[in-house]
Each structure stands twice: as structure tokens, then as C-alpha cells.
Symmetry: D2
Subunit: 286 residues, 4 copies
């Protein structure tokens, strides 16, 4: 007799815009939320008994209503609000996770002065990330992060002396382009009490500086460089995890055309791509 | 002193086409592979010592070389080959995972006869999925599955009597369109010894039949219907997990235009969407 | 003094689902509409005078309302209805274009019998296309078509004896994989009076047969093969235009691995891609 | 007897990275090129006679070779080089079009100082655009532009007093969010002799300033504002054409939840969207 061994459900891609007016100056939050809940919902699966089920449409409303009812200065705070309020509002929920991405906007500058209510950016590139998970009887877990911070350096990067066997064809190089799109997650020691904007700026700045300044022997090593920089830049986080695609730039073979190789003309490719992961932790496991 | 607490890496989106010629009749495999490995690679991260590192470019070659060296009839077999051969070839690897998606092609029919070497399909819709994970000292774990099997029924689906509170605005309905894109994973009891094409056909056929024939009180209930059907259709699998987005079709409000509501005109939306998950297991945990 | 030399506007990605119930048997139309209009709208641009402007939100409503008010059997008919009704309803419009794509669904088969109200497919692959343009004082122009019909043949395709110069590196091949995603447009001689489903089936069938059966010396030649087949298959169309990306399958170089080349292992690539266009007309220009 | 009434072909998505080293300081160009040619190619279509055909693979090589052989400071220059060199190199070509998009990178700043060889950005957002078309016996036509410059203002935008009829449901608003993704094309009076970076900065700056500073009665009016600003900012261009999707932000209905409407909580939607086009020309047609 088959049984339902796991279930959860939620609402994804809830796209919220919130404008906070501080006099003439407007703050803009654009956030996409994914909500997922665990709890006492098995009857909906096994018997079509939906009485406990919070409809995903209701969850969508919940996101907008809480955005209206609560003030927040950072996407991390709103993630905590959503997760904890879900748990508080619905006794049938045992675990609520709110995963948010915030679009990056910058104020339009006119003659060097930032505009009060006009913004540019807002595209598909770099986003801020926050995930909060609330459970009954435990502290809410909060993770901050970044998605899609694309970086490239044209030199000071090598890839050589790696494992050689029958399947290897790639040659050693002591000067290559290294490019990646940084996805990083950093758990906070506590879900409140931080200046999240300052943390994000410090961590991102440290990652960029390490990426730019440190000579790299591989994406793997750069992960440790960036991770150490991030942990040093912000005391509030306990570790940092990276998922880095290698955005390959392959030297174009100029030889057939009688042209000299000077490491300056490259083919950019998306497929296939190396995918390198690593977690740097502040304290070693004891 | 920060430490590296986790690491793994691999190659993603390795796109392989293999043609197997059986006389005039050609078999076509189009597979996108993601390879990920764990093992003795910390030195690359912490010291830039890459001597143990199998370059992701080497892994890419590995996929094509093994596709040439080995015969296989199904994507599940090739996943097992890749994972096990990686482990066998490279002692520094402790765990190798091969995650494959196979594009669906059908033979072009001319006057009712299937063509020997011409195919149609091959787009972004329904794909076959296989994932094999090989570790030292244990049996290889194999999971089959499907990605993006889009289905819709225009009636015999309800969504009513769900939880009501202040945040609910959605009304009960006893006749709605239900649509989803089925992602399903089914672990096999053993990594070999199955007719994988027959399994996939039986499971997919059972899911489609359950979706079409069973009256639905919610996506949650349909998951159990499809899961029970799948487990009954194929003895080789031990459970089945679903991740189903609700592809909403919302009745268009005709009232402002003086037109009668007859449940026939709908707005299709992608955002936001319900996301429903569930796992059905053959034997209850003891 | 700058002037407004051209203007037009409209609504894109209006996603309509219509269910037509013929007893227990349901017909399903899923159509994405792009509407664009020209007319007396300059004042909105130059003076912010919107009195003539039909809001794009109104256009969206228009699509759903006409879907309710009118019966149609094919997406081509609905394109004509939309374009002509826009012109009839709004005197300030001089030209209305309705460009529609219809998602492909097939009935789920249970024991060989097509189900009355359950469908599969509906993904991102092959879509049916129609575009109608209505103007005052002229006949409505109607174009049918197809988008994203992906095809591949594993042999009977060559690419050789092409232009050689200093920039060429590609070698001749007399046996390659040819694959493409067919976008084709076929203008109808008249906007009404055709069995559009039969036309589309005949044209698509002819294209597939030509693709499969005719030996190809290049995508260019295959365009003519398919175009001639299409024109012969359906008298109602006056020409057919193709836009074909070359979905390259490049032989993987097995030589470094000591393996024999047998033209069976390929790398599938999306970038860069050849893009081949051609129009075949029934009657030569006089 | 069907005839080939039109043909052209080319290579799309040729992705070039070029690094120009000026001592320690590196300049980075990342460009995606689409090449399309017309000429004496009918025999390839009608007879499979490819002798005149420049393979699209050869065109791909051509892009990389010319990137190596020629110096350029701006993507507009490289578009002109490619189009004119194609015409010069291949007598069978009658018209060559090079359409380029350049990814936006900014130097990483460390302690306020721009780094010599490390960059961030490079994502899917704002790109610079250039298109050059060269024909025998005429001047090369050059168009500059921008793609995907996303902007949003939280106030100083209205949408009211537009056409009312039976199909209208949208209410007037005198304070809404206006957001769009600017695609703009600006033809240059001559293909050479301009400081293209300065032109682009001036035009883009003027568009942003107009967007931010001018009160808007509709996207249509904002097109004229931005167009007039652009033409005033750069003498080298003769007109400017806009294609602006309306990135709708729809007030969330808070009434069912007993919350006060304060125009601060919005739903962001992608589908459907208004699409507004307009061209502003420096001199009126005579």
C-alpha cells in the first residue's frame, strides 16, 4: 500500500513592488518571493480534504498584506517577517520558508545628484538574496546572499598543473581570462540585530576586492580568497557558500589565418561550463 | 581561522549527440549532462595545488569518450556508466554524480511509415531525466524521471473548501481548468536489470491516465493519484517524487462587458504560481 | 524643430485560453496575441492628449471579449476577427495588426482512445502562427505559419564545395547531421474561405516529407525543397518564407583519445548559428 | 513554377571578447555579432551549387580575424569595419549587415580607484547596440543604440483621460509608477567622424534626465521627451526610434483586507504588456 512520505507546497514568483515615501525621497523595493510550507496537509493529498490547506493564492495575498502592514529596511528583514508571520498565523504550518530575491535599482543621477524618485537598473543582472526558515520551537534561520554578480578579470589568473590522463586535452595556461557569475549564500548567526545593507555592501566589496587583487590559480582558489575576505568583512555571518559557473573565454585559434597569437581574441561560450562549489566556515568543526 | 568545510565541482550542460546506426535505421540520442564530483580536492581550494584536479574540460571529454566507448539503450544506462567510470578512472574521486536530460525526438512519419533517419520534436518541452550517483563501497543509486511533461484538463477538477481566513480572497470552484508541467523522479531499486524505456513508458502512461481519468479535488490529490498509478505500473521503482507548478488559467471577468459567465474564457498566467510537491513510497517506513 | 515621424502602439503577450464544449468533447485554444495599431494618435505623443488613445489595457480586454463573442475554428480566423473588429470599433485606427501564436496540445490517449477533455503538450515547442493586418479600404492581409518546428536528420545531408578563401577553415563533408527549427510564414490569397487546419496540416506534412526524403546539399537547398512542397500541398497560399537557424551538430574530435572517427559522436551547440532565409513564390514576378 | 523571390543568410550570436592592453590598463570589448548578407547566392538555393556561398562558419572566422586585424574604440566602428570588409572581400555579396550588441562592463573600484583589469557587470541588462549596412555604390548606413536600459519612476507619471468605450475597465490615475526597458536606435548622419562613446553617453544621459525630470502623461509623451532630449544632446544623429514595453506595476487591492490604499504596494507583471513605439526626427519631411 503506497504512502505519502513527504509533502510541501507554496507559491513562487510573487512579485512585489513597495514604495516607501520619506517626504520627496522615495525608497523602492522590488522583491520576488517564493514561499514554501510544511505542516499538517496530508489529508489534501490522500483524501482531497483541503480544510487545512492555505491556498497558494492566499499565500500570495499574505505577501502583499504583510508588505503593507510591516516596515522593513532590508530584504532579509522581510524574509524573517514572512516566515515568522506564516507560522504565527497558521497553526497547521510546522515550517515556513520565505526565499526572496531583490532586484537592484540605482537612483538616476542628474548633474551628479541622485534623483528622489527615478531609478535605473532593475534588469536581470545582480540580485540580492535572502532566505528565512521558521519552525516551531527553534530560532528562525536566516541566510543572506547575492545572485548573478558577474565579474571578469583579463589577467592575473592561471590554470595549470592539473591532473593529466588520457582524457585531458586542455593545455596549461599561466595567463587566462577568468569570469564567473557569483551566487553566494551567507548564514547569519542570528536572524535580527544586523545592519543588513552594511553587511551586504561589506561582503560584496570584499569579494570584489579579493577577486580583483588576488592572483588566481583556479576558480577553486578564488572561492577561498573571496570566502576569507567575506568572513573578515562581516562578523555577523558564520559561513559563506559559493556556486560559481566558469564563464569560459577560449582563445580563438588565429594560426590558420597567419595571425600572431597575443592572447587578445577570445570566443565566449555558455555551454558547457565548469561549476565550482565551496563553503568557507568561520570556525572549524570541533 | 576560516576553513573549507565543503567542496565539489563539475561540468554542466555537456551536450552530446550520439547516432547509432542499425543498418539503414538510425537511433538518435541527444543528451545534456551535468557531472559533479566530490573527493580529495581541498588543496586546489586552499593552496592552488591543482595536481589532483580533473579539469572540467577533461570531464567534458570524458562524457564524449565514454559515449563512444560504451553501448547503451537508455539514458539511465549512460548515467550509470558515467558515474561508475568516473569513480573507476580517478582514485581521487569519492563520489561522482551524473545528471542527464534527454531531448524527446519522434520519427517523422511519411504515409504512416516512420522514417529511418529523420526526426521531429527536439524542442524545449518534455525531456527524459536520469541521475546516477556512484560512491566507493556502495551500490550506485539510480533515479529515472521526466521533466516538463505539460498537461491540462478542461474539467473534472475542483478547488474548494480550503482554509478560510482574513487573507483568503479566492472563491470555491467546482469546475476549473487544471494544468501543470510534470517533473517527476523515480528511484530504481537497483541500477541495472530493467528495461528503462518500458519503465518510462509505463510510468508516463499511468501518470497521464490518472491525470485524465481521475476527478481531482486539488493538485495535491492528483499527485497521489499519479504516484499510485506510477508505482503500480512499474515494479522496478521504489518511490516517486513530484514537483508540480500550477499553470493557472484564471476565468476572465466578463461582467463589465455585459457578457454571460460560462467558464470558457480564461487568462493564462505564469506568475505567481503554486508549487506543489509530494513523494509517494511503495512501502511505508517501519 | 524635431517632429514625430512615426508612431504605433499595442499590447503584447495577451494570453487567452478558450474552451469550446461540444457535448462531452472539449476543444481547447491557447493563444498568445500581440496587437499593434496605427492611427490618429500623434497628440498623445506630442501633447499628452490621450483622448483618442485606446489604452493597451482596453486592447487586452478587447481580445478576451471578442474571443467570447465570436466563434472560430482556427487561429487564422481569430486573427482576422481581431484585426477587422479593431478597425470597425475604433475610427481613430487606420491599421490594426493581430499577430497570434497558438500552443500545440494533443489529446491524451487512453488505450488508444483520445480523451475528451485532457491534453498533453502545450510546451515551448512547435506553435501555430497567424498574422492579420486590416486597413481601411483594402482587403485584410492574412498570413499563416508555424514557429519552432524542430527537425533533424542524421544523414542524407552534405555541405561541400562552398566558397574557399583565407577565412575558411571548415572542411567539406558529404555526410552530416542537419537540424533546424522551422519558422515559416505563408500568406493566403484571401483572408477567408479556407480550411485552415487542413492547410496547416498539408503544408507542415509536405515540409516534413521534403525534409526527410530529399537529399540535401545545404540548408539553402532544403528551403527550396520545403517551399516547393508547401506550395504544391496547399493552393490557398501564394508564397512561403522561411527563417531557419542551423542547429549545429559538430563531430567531436576523437583522435586525441585514440578512438576511430565513425561520424557518430557530436557536440550540439547553440552559439553561433547559421541563419538562412528564403522566400518561394508561386508565380514569378512579371 | 515556383521561384525563389528572396534570399539572404548569415551567422548569428558570434560572441567575441577582445582585450586591448594599454600597458597595465586593459580595455575590454565583449560583443555579440549577427552578420547577414545578400548577393549572388540563388544557385545554392535552387541547385545546391554552393560555390559562391561563404559558409556561415567562414563568417564566424571573419569576425574574429577582423577583430584581430583592426583597431577600434567603439562597437559602432567595428560594425562599420565588418560590413565594409565583407563587401570588399567577397564580390558576390551585394549587401552586408553587421548588427552588434556590446555587453556593459564597469571597472571594479577598490578604495575608490578603478581597477586596471578587473570588471563587474556583464550581465543580461543594458547593452550597447550598433548596426552597419554596406552596399555597393552607396555610403554605409550606421545606426547606434541601446538595448534593455531599464528605468522606473515612482511618481510624476499619470495615465488618464484616454479613450472610453465599452471595452475599457482601467480607471484614470494621476499618480502611477512608470517603468520601461528602453530600446532605442539612432541613425548617424555619417558612418565615421564621431566620438561614439561621447555620443552614447550624451544621448543616454539626456534620455535618463528627461525620463526623471519631465512629468509624464503617458509612455507616448515620454518618448517625445526622451527623443527631443537625445537629438539636442548629440548633433551627429538624424533621428531616434524607441520601442518601449510598459513594465506594469499594478496597485494591489488592499480593500478585502481592511487596509488603506496609499499607492505603495504593487504587483509587478510581465504579461501582457503595452508596447509603445515612436520615431523623432530632427528635420520635418519636406
Amino acid at each position: 500500500m503506497p504512502t505519502l512520505s513527504h509533502n510541501s507546497y507554496g507559491k513562487s514568483d510573487v512579485r512585489l513592488t513597495k514604495v516607501v515615501r520619506k517626504g520627496a525621497r522615495h525608497e523602492l523595493f522590488e522583491i520576488t518571493a517564493n514561499i514554501q510550507i510544511d505542516g499538517d496537509f496530508a489529508a489534501a493529498y490522500t483524501a482531497g480534504d483541503n480544510r487545512n490547506c492555505v491556498a497558494t493564492d492566499t499565500m500570495k495575498n499574505f505577501v502583499y498584506v504583510k508588505a503593507k502592514e510591516f516596515s522593513f529596511d532590508a530584504v532579509e528583514q522581510f524574509a524573517v517577517i514572512l516566515a515568522e508571520q506564516l507560522l504565527k498565523t497558521y497553526p497547521q504550518i510546522s515550517r515556513a520558508t520565505a526565499e526572496l530575491q531583490q532586484t537592484t535599482w540605482r537612483r538616476i543621477a542628474i548633474d551628479g545628484k541622485q534623483h528622489d524618485h527615478a531609478f535605473a537598473g532593475g534588469g536581470d543582472s545582480q540580485k540580492r538574496y535572502a532566505r528565512a526558515a521558521a519552525t516551531r520551537g527553534g530560532a528562525t534561520e536566516l541566510t543572506g546572499g547575492i545572485r548573478g554578480l558577474v565579474v571578469l578579470k583579463t589577467t592575473a589568473s592561471e590554470w595549470r598543473d592539473f591532473h593529466t590522463d588520457r582524457h585531458r586535452t586542455l593545455k596549461d595556461t599561466s595567463d587566462r581570462i577568468m569570469a564567473t557569475s557569483i551566487d553566494a549564500d551567507w548564514p547569519f548567526a542570528a536572524p535580527t540585530g544586523h545592519d543588513f545593507d552594511a553587511c551586504t555592501d561589506a561582503i560584496t566589496g570584499a569579494m570584489l576586492a579579493q577577486f580583483a587583487m588576488k592572483h588566481s590559480l583556479g576558480v577553486q582558489q578564488t572561492i577561498v580568497h573571496m570566502g576569507e575576505g567575506a568572513l573578515a568583512a562581516c562578523d555577523a555571518i558564520t559561513s559563506i557558500s559559493f556556486t560559481l559557473p566558469n564563464l569560459h573565454r577560449i582563445p580563438f585559434n588565429l594560426e590558420p589565418f597567419g595571425l600572431k597569437f597575443e592572447n587578445d581574441i577570445f570566443v565566449a561560450t555558455d555551454e558547457p561550463y565548469g561549476l565550482i562549489k565551496g563553503t568557507i566556515t568561520r570556525e572549524p568543526a570541533k
